[in-house]
Symmetry: none
Subunit: 233 residues, 2 copies
DNA sequence: AAGAGGTTCATAAAAAGTTTGTAAAAGCGC
DNA sequence: GCGCTTTTACAAACTTTTTATGAACCTCTT
């Protein structure tokens, strides 16, 4: 498991199942999330649904070939594209690269080389597009980019851990959140057996966001289960 | 002559004069500006003086080899690097790519392929103008060309590093900027583990731009995360 | 139905561990 | 030498973790 590769999504496009299978296996083992497509058209669909960070594609495919796929992708996206092909002739390479591909690797290729090229291209991808979107529920709004929380229009200063706890609760507003889930989300999957933290931090949060911390209106406890966040109407 | 290649500067590094000569000729004919260096050390010098848009380098060189050159360049720069080498073994490729190279082409290579790869990498280079635009937020305005900053109409003298720090913060005004991001932007991607710089420079900046440096109004600290620039209304 | 025993929850506060602001010394390049 | 950057040091401020205590709650027994 490597930090820089975590959660990066790679779309593999090839009409030969044995190729996609081996790529899926190898890339998955490096910690990447993989989806595959067997032709250009379905690749475009998956691309739009899933927004991968990198595309690896074959050249010869039904429906829409590799060069066509590159052109289509480039109309909308800057995603790095690596073309894999058995055709090693220079004009094929030039055509693909000029169509928008970033790299051209000739089959058969060494898997370590491909992985290194994948790393090289992913390095350039803007670090972690913030998947975190602003949330607004009831009297609360939370902006992860600015790292700010507003309660009834007032800004509330939160420490990092408080922020993460509240963030998780807001994202699951209205639902009962188990101790385990909350602990795992904020403290990591390891410390799921220490609910003392939660009591302390929930207490702190209530002091900061509740009008009457002793009789919480938003941050309710769900006995024997966990907590539940109830946004004001 | 092609439009996309106009005025782009390419640094060619190789200790064999016949290689640099043919590359210079070919690349020049495509409208690129070329300089050459015959070893890693002088390549670094030329790089700093000339800020090329792309570097093409051999692997085997006196003084500082291709891999070392990649590492050195990556400390400060995101410039695309294409490595040319007679060594076609996979571990050479992996080593170079992981050292920061973006592409690895084995000699002998087709010139059209190389040109296509050059075009592919140059496509990704951010057009300079984008980074050089003036910014004005709240009480601040910053002119990158003149390297001047005005706070409430008053000019403030800043050192180069101070300027870059403030520039980055202004470009992300209102958002929490992580230590990592700020360090990477100003000191290069390698020095992301030295937040001491930031403390010092933020302190300097506050002295220069805040009315009361001890109680900052603009340059706020976001504890455990980084800093946030809040423009005056 | 009431009470004992055990568990969970809330709160406060002490202890431990980090981070931040600041000053100043050392290093570097022109 | 001079100005800028880097390094070092340390106290102050802050966050997180740990600990303690009492109240509230459930279960089981009588």
């Amino acid at each position: 498991m490597q930090i820089s590769g975590e959660h990066r999504r790679i779309l593999v496009v090839d009409d030969e199942p044995q190729i996609t299978r081996v790529l899926r296996t190898t890339l998955s083992s490096q910690g990447y999330d993989i989806r595959t497509a067997s032709d250009g058209e379905s690749a475009l669909e998956t691309f739009h649904d899933w927004s991968p960070h990198l595309v690896i594609t074959d050249l010869a495919m039904p429906n829409l070939d590799g060069v066509g796929l590159c052109r289509k992708l480039r109309e909308k996206s800057q995603v790095p594209i690596i073309v894999l092909s058995v055709r090693g002739q220079e004009r094929n390479k030039v055509e693909a690269l000029d169509a928008g591909a970033d790299d051209y690797v000739t089959k058969p290729f060494g898997m370590n080389e491909l992985l290194a090229r994948v790393r090289a291209h992913l390095r350039r991808v803007v670090p972690e597009e913030k998947q975190e979107q602003a949330i607004a529920v009831g009297d609360f709004s939370l902006d992860p980019e600015a790292r700010r929380v507003l309660v009834r229009g007032e800004e509330v200063r939160l420490t990092p851990k408080e922020f993460e706890v509240l963030s998780y609760l807001l994202r699951h507003a209205g639902k009962a959140v188990t101790h385990r889930a909350l602990l795992a989300a904020v403290w990591g999957a390891n410390s799921t057996e220490q609910p003392e933290y939660l009591r302390v931090f929930v207490g702190q949060l209530r002091k900061k966001i509740e009008a009457d911390p002793a009789n919480p209106k938003y941050l309710l406890t769900e006995p024997w289960v966990g907590y539940r966040f109830e946004p004001g109407e």
